[in-house]
Amino acid sequence: MSTNGKPKFAMYWAASCGGCEIAVLNIHEKILDVDANFEVAFWPVAMDAKYKDVEAMEDGSILLTLFNGAIRNDENEHIAKLLRRKSKLLVAFGSCANEGCMPALANLSSVKDMVDTAFTTLTTDNPQNIRPNTSYTVPEGELHIPTLYPVVRTLDQVVPVDYYMPGCPPESHQIAAVIDLVIQVLQGKAELPPAGSVIGAGGSTVCDECPRTRNEKKIKKFERIQNIMIDPELCILEQGVLCSGPATRSGCDAPCPKAGSPCIGCYGPAEGAEDYGSRLMTAIASVIDSNDPAEIERIFEGIPDPAGQFYRFNLAGSLLRFSKSAWKE
Protein backbone atom coordinates (compact mmCIF):
# COMPACT_ATOMS: atom_id res chain seq x y z
CA MET A 1 0.00 0.00 0.00
CA SER A 2 1.10 3.50 -0.64
CA THR A 3 1.53 5.52 2.51
CA ASN A 4 -0.11 8.70 1.31
CA GLY A 5 -2.28 10.82 3.61
CA LYS A 6 -4.84 8.10 4.19
CA PRO A 7 -5.93 7.67 7.83
CA LYS A 8 -4.20 4.81 9.61
CA PHE A 9 -6.02 1.59 10.51
CA ALA A 10 -4.75 -1.02 12.95
CA MET A 11 -5.97 -4.35 14.17
CA TYR A 12 -4.42 -6.36 16.95
CA TRP A 13 -5.02 -9.66 18.64
CA ALA A 14 -4.21 -10.10 22.28
CA ALA A 15 -5.29 -13.36 23.91
CA SER A 16 -7.74 -14.41 21.24
CA CYS A 17 -8.34 -17.20 18.81
CA GLY A 18 -7.96 -15.30 15.54
CA GLY A 19 -11.62 -15.73 14.70
CA CYS A 20 -12.07 -11.96 14.75
CA GLU A 21 -9.38 -11.62 12.10
CA ILE A 22 -11.11 -14.25 9.99
CA ALA A 23 -14.41 -12.45 10.50
CA VAL A 24 -12.84 -9.25 9.20
CA LEU A 25 -11.40 -11.07 6.19
CA ASN A 26 -14.93 -12.44 5.73
CA ILE A 27 -16.22 -9.04 4.75
CA HIS A 28 -14.68 -10.24 1.47
CA GLU A 29 -14.61 -7.59 -1.24
CA LYS A 30 -15.28 -4.91 1.37
CA ILE A 31 -11.70 -5.49 2.50
CA LEU A 32 -10.75 -3.57 -0.62
CA ASP A 33 -12.68 -0.53 0.69
CA VAL A 34 -10.54 -0.71 3.79
CA ASP A 35 -7.51 -0.75 1.55
CA ALA A 36 -8.86 2.15 -0.49
CA ASN A 37 -9.71 4.35 2.50
CA PHE A 38 -7.09 3.45 5.04
CA GLU A 39 -3.42 2.90 5.37
CA VAL A 40 -3.15 -0.38 7.23
CA ALA A 41 -0.50 0.56 9.75
CA PHE A 42 -0.44 -2.52 11.94
CA TRP A 43 -2.15 -5.89 11.54
CA PRO A 44 -0.01 -8.87 12.62
CA VAL A 45 -2.18 -11.55 11.04
CA ALA A 46 -2.06 -10.02 7.59
CA MET A 47 1.18 -8.15 7.40
CA ASP A 48 4.68 -7.73 8.78
CA ALA A 49 4.96 -4.66 10.94
CA LYS A 50 6.88 -4.34 14.12
CA TYR A 51 6.01 -2.93 17.50
CA LYS A 52 8.90 -0.57 17.13
CA ASP A 53 7.17 0.91 14.11
CA VAL A 54 4.07 1.49 16.20
CA GLU A 55 6.10 2.88 19.07
CA ALA A 56 7.66 5.26 16.61
CA MET A 57 4.30 6.64 15.55
CA GLU A 58 2.97 9.87 17.03
CA ASP A 59 0.41 9.50 19.79
CA GLY A 60 -3.09 9.48 18.35
CA SER A 61 -1.82 9.00 14.83
CA ILE A 62 -3.81 5.82 14.25
CA LEU A 63 -7.41 6.76 13.53
CA LEU A 64 -9.05 3.40 14.16
CA THR A 65 -7.79 0.39 16.05
CA LEU A 66 -9.83 -2.78 16.28
CA PHE A 67 -8.46 -4.53 19.36
CA ASN A 68 -9.50 -8.12 19.79
CA GLY A 69 -8.48 -10.61 22.40
CA ALA A 70 -8.51 -10.48 26.16
CA ILE A 71 -5.71 -9.33 28.41
CA ARG A 72 -3.99 -12.53 29.46
CA ASN A 73 -0.44 -11.42 30.05
CA ASP A 74 2.01 -8.59 30.40
CA GLU A 75 2.45 -8.21 26.68
CA ASN A 76 -1.27 -7.95 25.98
CA GLU A 77 -1.42 -5.23 28.60
CA HIS A 78 1.58 -3.42 27.20
CA ILE A 79 0.27 -3.42 23.63
CA ALA A 80 -3.17 -2.38 24.84
CA LYS A 81 -1.60 0.66 26.50
CA LEU A 82 0.62 1.31 23.48
CA LEU A 83 -2.28 1.17 21.03
CA ARG A 84 -4.46 3.23 23.35
CA ARG A 85 -1.83 5.95 23.22
CA LYS A 86 -1.41 5.75 19.49
CA SER A 87 -5.09 5.51 18.53
CA LYS A 88 -7.82 8.12 18.27
CA LEU A 89 -10.54 5.48 18.33
CA LEU A 90 -9.89 2.26 20.23
CA VAL A 91 -12.56 -0.34 19.65
CA ALA A 92 -12.92 -3.36 21.91
CA PHE A 93 -13.55 -5.80 19.08
CA GLY A 94 -15.13 -9.17 19.73
CA SER A 95 -16.19 -11.02 22.82
CA CYS A 96 -12.69 -11.54 24.27
CA ALA A 97 -11.88 -7.84 24.38
CA ASN A 98 -15.40 -6.96 25.52
CA GLU A 99 -16.06 -9.53 28.19
CA GLY A 100 -13.37 -12.20 28.19
CA CYS A 101 -15.14 -14.85 26.12
CA MET A 102 -14.40 -18.52 26.72
CA PRO A 103 -10.73 -18.09 27.58
CA ALA A 104 -12.02 -16.26 30.65
CA LEU A 105 -13.65 -19.47 31.86
CA ALA A 106 -10.10 -20.04 33.04
CA ASN A 107 -10.90 -17.43 35.69
CA LEU A 108 -12.80 -20.18 37.49
CA SER A 109 -9.55 -21.92 38.37
CA SER A 110 -6.02 -20.98 39.32
CA VAL A 111 -3.08 -20.83 36.92
CA LYS A 112 -1.38 -23.53 38.94
CA ASP A 113 -4.42 -25.72 38.49
CA MET A 114 -4.34 -25.05 34.75
CA VAL A 115 -0.65 -25.90 34.40
CA ASP A 116 -0.99 -28.97 36.62
CA THR A 117 -3.85 -30.24 34.50
CA ALA A 118 -2.02 -29.64 31.22
CA PHE A 119 1.09 -31.40 32.47
CA THR A 120 -0.61 -34.47 33.90
CA THR A 121 -2.93 -35.43 31.03
CA LEU A 122 -3.31 -39.03 29.94
CA THR A 123 -0.73 -38.78 27.18
CA THR A 124 1.77 -36.61 29.03
CA ASP A 125 5.03 -38.47 29.52
CA ASN A 126 6.21 -36.71 32.66
CA PRO A 127 7.81 -39.16 35.12
CA GLN A 128 9.56 -36.42 37.14
CA ASN A 129 6.34 -34.44 37.16
CA ILE A 130 8.03 -31.41 35.58
CA ARG A 131 6.38 -27.99 35.33
CA PRO A 132 7.57 -25.16 33.10
CA ASN A 133 10.01 -22.89 34.94
CA THR A 134 9.92 -19.16 34.35
CA SER A 135 13.71 -19.23 34.32
CA TYR A 136 15.60 -22.43 33.63
CA THR A 137 19.29 -23.08 33.14
CA VAL A 138 20.27 -25.18 30.15
CA PRO A 139 23.91 -26.15 29.53
CA GLU A 140 24.34 -23.16 27.25
CA GLY A 141 22.77 -20.58 29.56
CA GLU A 142 19.49 -19.35 31.04
CA LEU A 143 16.06 -19.46 29.44
CA HIS A 144 13.08 -17.37 30.44
CA ILE A 145 9.39 -17.78 29.95
CA PRO A 146 6.87 -15.41 31.50
CA THR A 147 4.78 -16.09 34.55
CA LEU A 148 1.11 -16.17 33.57
CA TYR A 149 -1.34 -13.61 34.97
CA PRO A 150 -3.76 -15.13 37.46
CA VAL A 151 -6.87 -14.17 35.49
CA VAL A 152 -8.06 -12.89 32.15
CA ARG A 153 -9.17 -9.25 31.93
CA THR A 154 -11.23 -7.36 29.41
CA LEU A 155 -9.71 -4.50 27.41
CA ASP A 156 -11.56 -1.77 29.31
CA GLN A 157 -10.32 -3.19 32.58
CA VAL A 158 -6.85 -2.12 31.40
CA VAL A 159 -7.34 0.98 29.23
CA PRO A 160 -10.21 3.33 28.40
CA VAL A 161 -12.18 2.15 25.39
CA ASP A 162 -14.05 4.36 22.91
CA TYR A 163 -16.40 1.81 21.38
CA TYR A 164 -17.48 -1.72 22.03
CA MET A 165 -18.19 -4.19 19.26
CA PRO A 166 -19.42 -7.49 20.64
CA GLY A 167 -19.66 -10.96 19.13
CA CYS A 168 -17.64 -14.14 18.93
CA PRO A 169 -16.75 -13.16 16.40
CA PRO A 170 -18.66 -10.05 15.36
CA GLU A 171 -20.86 -11.00 12.41
CA SER A 172 -19.31 -9.88 9.13
CA HIS A 173 -22.38 -7.90 8.03
CA GLN A 174 -22.01 -5.84 11.21
CA ILE A 175 -18.28 -5.33 10.60
CA ALA A 176 -19.03 -4.19 7.06
CA ALA A 177 -21.67 -1.79 8.38
CA VAL A 178 -19.27 -0.30 10.91
CA ILE A 179 -16.53 0.12 8.31
CA ASP A 180 -19.05 1.83 6.03
CA LEU A 181 -20.00 4.13 8.87
CA VAL A 182 -16.41 5.10 9.63
CA ILE A 183 -15.76 5.74 5.94
CA GLN A 184 -18.87 7.90 5.77
CA VAL A 185 -17.69 9.79 8.84
CA LEU A 186 -14.36 10.33 7.10
CA GLN A 187 -16.23 11.76 4.14
CA GLY A 188 -18.25 13.94 6.52
CA LYS A 189 -21.44 12.15 5.58
CA ALA A 190 -22.16 10.73 9.03
CA GLU A 191 -21.63 11.30 12.74
CA LEU A 192 -19.86 8.97 15.15
CA PRO A 193 -22.08 7.54 17.90
CA PRO A 194 -21.47 8.88 21.43
CA ALA A 195 -18.24 7.63 22.95
CA GLY A 196 -18.56 4.50 25.04
CA SER A 197 -21.45 3.13 23.03
CA VAL A 198 -21.78 -0.34 21.63
CA ILE A 199 -21.53 -0.42 17.86
CA GLY A 200 -22.29 -3.09 15.29
CA ALA A 201 -25.08 -4.51 17.42
CA GLY A 202 -28.77 -4.08 18.20
CA GLY A 203 -30.47 -2.47 21.16
CA SER A 204 -32.66 -5.39 22.16
CA THR A 205 -31.92 -9.08 22.68
CA VAL A 206 -31.59 -12.06 20.36
CA CYS A 207 -35.25 -13.09 20.74
CA ASP A 208 -36.02 -9.89 18.85
CA GLU A 209 -34.34 -11.40 15.79
CA CYS A 210 -35.33 -15.01 16.41
CA PRO A 211 -38.13 -16.18 14.11
CA ARG A 212 -39.37 -18.91 16.46
CA THR A 213 -42.85 -18.59 17.98
CA ARG A 214 -42.97 -17.83 21.69
CA ASN A 215 -45.52 -18.37 24.44
CA GLU A 216 -45.69 -17.72 28.15
CA LYS A 217 -42.82 -19.60 29.69
CA LYS A 218 -43.01 -22.36 32.29
CA ILE A 219 -40.09 -24.71 32.84
CA LYS A 220 -40.67 -27.98 34.68
CA LYS A 221 -37.59 -29.78 33.35
CA PHE A 222 -34.39 -28.82 31.56
CA GLU A 223 -33.55 -30.88 28.48
CA ARG A 224 -30.16 -31.58 26.92
CA ILE A 225 -30.24 -30.76 23.22
CA GLN A 226 -28.97 -34.19 22.19
CA ASN A 227 -31.90 -35.87 23.95
CA ILE A 228 -34.75 -34.25 22.03
CA MET A 229 -35.65 -33.34 18.47
CA ILE A 230 -35.93 -29.56 18.50
CA ASP A 231 -39.21 -28.31 17.03
CA PRO A 232 -37.97 -25.93 14.30
CA GLU A 233 -40.84 -23.47 14.82
CA LEU A 234 -41.02 -23.19 18.61
CA CYS A 235 -38.88 -21.20 21.06
CA ILE A 236 -35.94 -23.39 22.08
CA LEU A 237 -36.13 -22.34 25.73
CA GLU A 238 -39.77 -23.40 25.86
CA GLN A 239 -38.60 -26.83 24.72
CA GLY A 240 -36.53 -26.99 27.90
CA VAL A 241 -33.14 -26.37 26.33
CA LEU A 242 -31.32 -23.51 28.01
CA CYS A 243 -31.03 -20.70 25.46
CA SER A 244 -29.20 -17.46 26.19
CA GLY A 245 -31.20 -15.52 23.62
CA PRO A 246 -33.41 -13.61 26.05
CA ALA A 247 -30.42 -12.03 27.79
CA THR A 248 -28.07 -11.62 24.86
CA ARG A 249 -27.71 -8.43 22.86
CA SER A 250 -29.23 -8.54 19.41
CA GLY A 251 -27.41 -7.77 16.20
CA CYS A 252 -26.24 -11.21 15.11
CA ASP A 253 -29.56 -12.07 13.40
CA ALA A 254 -29.93 -15.12 15.62
CA PRO A 255 -27.97 -17.54 13.41
CA CYS A 256 -27.71 -20.24 16.07
CA PRO A 257 -31.42 -20.51 16.92
CA LYS A 258 -32.12 -20.38 13.19
CA ALA A 259 -29.77 -23.34 12.81
CA GLY A 260 -31.63 -25.28 15.49
CA SER A 261 -29.14 -24.77 18.28
CA PRO A 262 -29.59 -22.46 21.27
CA CYS A 263 -28.06 -19.01 21.52
CA ILE A 264 -24.88 -19.30 23.56
CA GLY A 265 -24.67 -15.61 24.33
CA CYS A 266 -21.63 -14.39 22.40
CA TYR A 267 -23.04 -10.88 21.85
CA GLY A 268 -22.94 -10.30 25.56
CA PRO A 269 -25.22 -8.37 27.89
CA ALA A 270 -28.11 -6.21 26.76
CA GLU A 271 -27.79 -2.43 26.87
CA GLY A 272 -27.29 -1.29 30.44
CA ALA A 273 -27.17 -4.76 32.01
CA GLU A 274 -24.67 -4.77 34.88
CA ASP A 275 -23.99 -8.48 34.88
CA TYR A 276 -24.88 -10.77 32.00
CA GLY A 277 -24.98 -13.98 34.00
CA SER A 278 -27.36 -12.74 36.65
CA ARG A 279 -29.73 -11.33 34.03
CA LEU A 280 -29.93 -14.73 32.38
CA MET A 281 -30.07 -16.53 35.70
CA THR A 282 -32.91 -14.44 37.08
CA ALA A 283 -34.92 -14.76 33.88
CA ILE A 284 -34.60 -18.54 33.80
CA ALA A 285 -35.27 -18.91 37.53
CA SER A 286 -38.35 -16.72 37.29
CA VAL A 287 -40.09 -19.11 34.92
CA ILE A 288 -39.31 -22.28 36.86
CA ASP A 289 -42.70 -23.89 37.27
CA SER A 290 -42.67 -24.75 40.97
CA ASN A 291 -42.93 -23.17 44.41
CA ASP A 292 -41.63 -26.16 46.29
CA PRO A 293 -37.98 -25.79 47.36
CA ALA A 294 -37.21 -29.49 46.92
CA GLU A 295 -38.74 -29.58 43.45
CA ILE A 296 -37.01 -26.35 42.44
CA GLU A 297 -33.70 -27.89 43.50
CA ARG A 298 -34.55 -30.95 41.43
CA ILE A 299 -35.38 -28.89 38.36
CA PHE A 300 -32.11 -26.97 38.69
CA GLU A 301 -30.18 -30.24 38.71
CA GLY A 302 -30.86 -29.94 34.99
CA ILE A 303 -28.31 -27.11 35.03
CA PRO A 304 -25.27 -28.93 36.45
CA ASP A 305 -22.95 -26.07 35.55
CA PRO A 306 -24.70 -22.74 36.16
CA ALA A 307 -21.54 -20.63 36.19
CA GLY A 308 -20.42 -22.13 32.90
CA GLN A 309 -23.86 -21.76 31.37
CA PHE A 310 -24.64 -18.24 32.53
CA TYR A 311 -21.12 -16.81 32.23
CA ARG A 312 -19.92 -18.77 29.18
CA PHE A 313 -18.72 -15.57 27.49
CA ASN A 314 -18.98 -12.99 30.19
CA LEU A 315 -16.91 -14.17 33.14
CA ALA A 316 -14.13 -11.58 32.88
CA GLY A 317 -16.71 -8.87 32.28
CA SER A 318 -18.97 -9.99 35.12
CA LEU A 319 -19.23 -8.35 38.52
CA LEU A 320 -17.21 -11.02 40.31
CA ARG A 321 -14.89 -11.61 37.33
CA PHE A 322 -13.21 -14.75 38.72
CA SER A 323 -13.59 -17.45 41.29
CA LYS A 324 -12.00 -17.31 44.69
CA SER A 325 -9.57 -20.10 43.79
CA ALA A 326 -8.27 -17.99 40.91
CA TRP A 327 -6.94 -15.30 43.24
CA LYS A 328 -6.66 -16.97 46.61
CA GLU A 329 -4.15 -19.59 45.48
Partner: protein, 165 residues
Protein backbone atom coordinates in the same frame (compact mmCIF):
# COMPACT_ATOMS: atom_id res chain seq x y z
CA UNK B 1 -14.87 -5.73 53.30
CA UNK B 2 -13.52 -5.36 56.79
CA UNK B 3 -13.55 -1.58 56.87
CA UNK B 4 -11.07 -1.28 59.71
CA UNK B 5 -7.66 -1.96 58.28
CA UNK B 6 -6.16 -2.34 61.74
CA UNK B 7 -5.25 -6.02 61.86
CA UNK B 8 -5.30 -6.02 65.64
CA UNK B 9 -9.02 -5.32 65.66
CA UNK B 10 -11.17 -8.43 65.35
CA UNK B 11 -12.72 -8.98 61.95
CA UNK B 12 -16.09 -7.22 61.67
CA UNK B 13 -18.00 -8.61 58.69
CA UNK B 14 -20.09 -6.28 56.58
CA UNK B 15 -23.49 -7.76 55.77
CA UNK B 16 -25.94 -6.37 53.27
CA UNK B 17 -29.55 -7.22 54.02
CA UNK B 18 -32.37 -6.97 51.52
CA UNK B 19 -35.80 -6.54 53.05
CA UNK B 20 -39.29 -6.40 51.63
CA UNK B 21 -41.41 -3.39 52.41
CA UNK B 22 -44.30 -5.34 53.91
CA UNK B 23 -42.90 -8.04 56.14
CA UNK B 24 -39.21 -8.18 56.85
CA UNK B 25 -38.58 -4.43 56.83
CA UNK B 26 -41.40 -4.06 59.32
CA UNK B 27 -39.95 -6.91 61.33
CA UNK B 28 -36.79 -4.81 61.52
CA UNK B 29 -38.89 -1.80 62.50
CA UNK B 30 -40.57 -3.86 65.18
CA UNK B 31 -37.22 -5.04 66.49
CA UNK B 32 -36.36 -1.36 66.77
CA UNK B 33 -39.58 -0.28 68.42
CA UNK B 34 -39.14 -3.12 70.89
CA UNK B 35 -35.51 -2.09 71.47
CA UNK B 36 -34.28 -5.58 70.68
CA UNK B 37 -30.52 -5.63 70.12
CA UNK B 38 -28.65 -7.15 67.20
CA UNK B 39 -25.17 -6.84 65.72
CA UNK B 40 -24.56 -3.60 63.84
CA UNK B 41 -22.79 -5.44 61.03
CA UNK B 42 -25.88 -5.58 58.87
CA UNK B 43 -26.96 -2.72 56.61
CA UNK B 44 -30.43 -2.92 55.14
CA UNK B 45 -31.82 -2.08 51.73
CA UNK B 46 -35.58 -1.83 51.37
CA UNK B 47 -37.25 -3.35 48.33
CA UNK B 48 -40.98 -3.43 47.74
CA UNK B 49 -40.89 -7.22 47.60
CA UNK B 50 -38.32 -9.98 47.76
CA UNK B 51 -39.49 -10.65 44.19
CA UNK B 52 -37.71 -7.43 43.26
CA UNK B 53 -34.41 -9.00 44.21
CA UNK B 54 -32.21 -9.16 41.15
CA UNK B 55 -29.22 -11.49 41.63
CA UNK B 56 -27.19 -8.59 40.27
CA UNK B 57 -27.69 -6.84 43.61
CA UNK B 58 -26.17 -9.76 45.47
CA UNK B 59 -23.20 -10.06 43.13
CA UNK B 60 -22.68 -6.31 43.29
CA UNK B 61 -22.68 -6.54 47.09
CA UNK B 62 -20.03 -9.26 47.13
CA UNK B 63 -17.98 -7.60 44.40
CA UNK B 64 -18.29 -4.37 46.37
CA UNK B 65 -16.81 -5.88 49.50
CA UNK B 66 -19.72 -7.35 51.45
CA UNK B 67 -18.77 -10.45 53.44
CA UNK B 68 -22.30 -11.78 53.50
CA UNK B 69 -25.71 -11.11 52.02
CA UNK B 70 -29.05 -11.77 53.69
CA UNK B 71 -32.21 -11.82 51.63
CA UNK B 72 -35.46 -11.53 53.56
CA UNK B 73 -39.12 -11.55 52.65
CA UNK B 74 -42.62 -12.49 53.73
CA UNK B 75 -43.33 -16.08 54.67
CA UNK B 76 -44.40 -18.30 51.78
CA UNK B 77 -48.09 -17.68 51.29
CA UNK B 78 -47.94 -14.35 53.11
CA UNK B 79 -46.52 -12.33 50.25
CA UNK B 80 -48.15 -8.93 49.96
CA UNK B 81 -48.03 -9.54 46.23
CA UNK B 82 -49.56 -13.00 46.50
CA UNK B 83 -46.60 -15.26 45.55
CA UNK B 84 -43.68 -13.16 44.41
CA UNK B 85 -41.49 -14.36 47.25
CA UNK B 86 -41.50 -17.75 45.54
CA UNK B 87 -39.73 -16.13 42.61
CA UNK B 88 -37.15 -14.87 45.08
CA UNK B 89 -36.82 -18.43 46.37
CA UNK B 90 -36.23 -19.80 42.85
CA UNK B 91 -33.59 -17.18 42.13
CA UNK B 92 -31.94 -17.70 45.47
CA UNK B 93 -31.54 -21.43 44.90
CA UNK B 94 -29.79 -21.12 41.53
CA UNK B 95 -27.81 -18.07 42.62
CA UNK B 96 -26.44 -19.94 45.62
CA UNK B 97 -25.51 -22.86 43.39
CA UNK B 98 -23.73 -20.51 40.99
CA UNK B 99 -21.88 -18.65 43.73
CA UNK B 100 -20.46 -21.93 44.97
CA UNK B 101 -18.75 -22.36 41.60
CA UNK B 102 -17.23 -18.95 42.21
CA UNK B 103 -15.79 -20.34 45.43
CA UNK B 104 -18.11 -18.39 47.72
CA UNK B 105 -19.01 -20.40 50.80
CA UNK B 106 -22.76 -21.14 50.90
CA UNK B 107 -22.70 -19.73 54.43
CA UNK B 108 -22.19 -16.21 53.09
CA UNK B 109 -25.69 -15.98 51.67
CA UNK B 110 -28.94 -16.56 53.50
CA UNK B 111 -32.64 -16.44 52.76
CA UNK B 112 -34.96 -15.62 55.67
CA UNK B 113 -38.73 -15.40 55.82
CA UNK B 114 -39.86 -12.99 58.53
CA UNK B 115 -43.33 -11.58 59.09
CA UNK B 116 -43.96 -8.03 60.26
CA UNK B 117 -44.53 -9.47 63.72
CA UNK B 118 -41.28 -11.41 63.93
CA UNK B 119 -38.93 -8.74 65.18
CA UNK B 120 -37.47 -11.27 67.59
CA UNK B 121 -36.90 -13.83 64.86
CA UNK B 122 -35.29 -11.17 62.68
CA UNK B 123 -33.00 -10.18 65.54
CA UNK B 124 -31.92 -13.74 66.28
CA UNK B 125 -31.36 -14.64 62.64
CA UNK B 126 -29.27 -11.53 62.00
CA UNK B 127 -27.10 -12.33 65.00
CA UNK B 128 -26.72 -15.94 63.94
CA UNK B 129 -25.83 -14.95 60.38
CA UNK B 130 -23.28 -12.34 61.46
CA UNK B 131 -21.54 -14.94 63.62
CA UNK B 132 -21.66 -17.48 60.82
CA UNK B 133 -20.01 -15.04 58.41
CA UNK B 134 -17.55 -13.91 61.05
CA UNK B 135 -16.48 -17.53 61.40
CA UNK B 136 -15.95 -17.75 57.63
CA UNK B 137 -13.62 -14.74 57.80
CA UNK B 138 -13.25 -11.77 55.44
CA UNK B 139 -14.21 -12.25 51.81
CA UNK B 140 -12.56 -9.02 50.60
CA UNK B 141 -13.27 -9.68 46.94
CA UNK B 142 -10.42 -7.99 45.02
CA UNK B 143 -12.82 -5.88 42.97
CA UNK B 144 -13.74 -3.99 46.12
CA UNK B 145 -10.43 -2.17 45.83
CA UNK B 146 -6.82 -2.82 46.71
CA UNK B 147 -6.51 -6.49 45.92
CA UNK B 148 -6.90 -6.20 42.20
CA UNK B 149 -3.67 -4.33 41.43
CA UNK B 150 -1.69 -6.79 43.51
CA UNK B 151 -2.97 -9.63 41.35
CA UNK B 152 -1.23 -8.20 38.30
CA UNK B 153 1.81 -6.72 39.96
CA UNK B 154 4.96 -7.71 38.05
CA UNK B 155 8.25 -7.73 39.97
CA UNK B 156 10.29 -4.54 39.38
CA UNK B 157 13.00 -6.34 37.40
CA UNK B 158 10.30 -7.82 35.18
CA UNK B 159 8.56 -4.51 34.49
CA UNK B 160 8.15 -3.39 30.92
CA UNK B 161 10.51 -0.64 29.90
CA UNK B 162 10.33 1.28 26.68
CA UNK B 163 12.53 0.39 23.75
CA UNK B 164 15.88 2.17 23.99
CA UNK B 165 17.66 2.59 20.70
Amino acid sequence: MSEQTDINKPFEPVIIGFTCNWCSYRAADMAGTARMKYSPNIRLIRLMCSGRLDPTFVLKAFAGGADGVMITGCHPGDCHYVEQNYKALRRFIILKKTLQQFGLEPGRIKLLWASAAEGALFTDEVNKFVEQVRALGPLSWPTSGGGLERMFAVPENMLVKEVTV
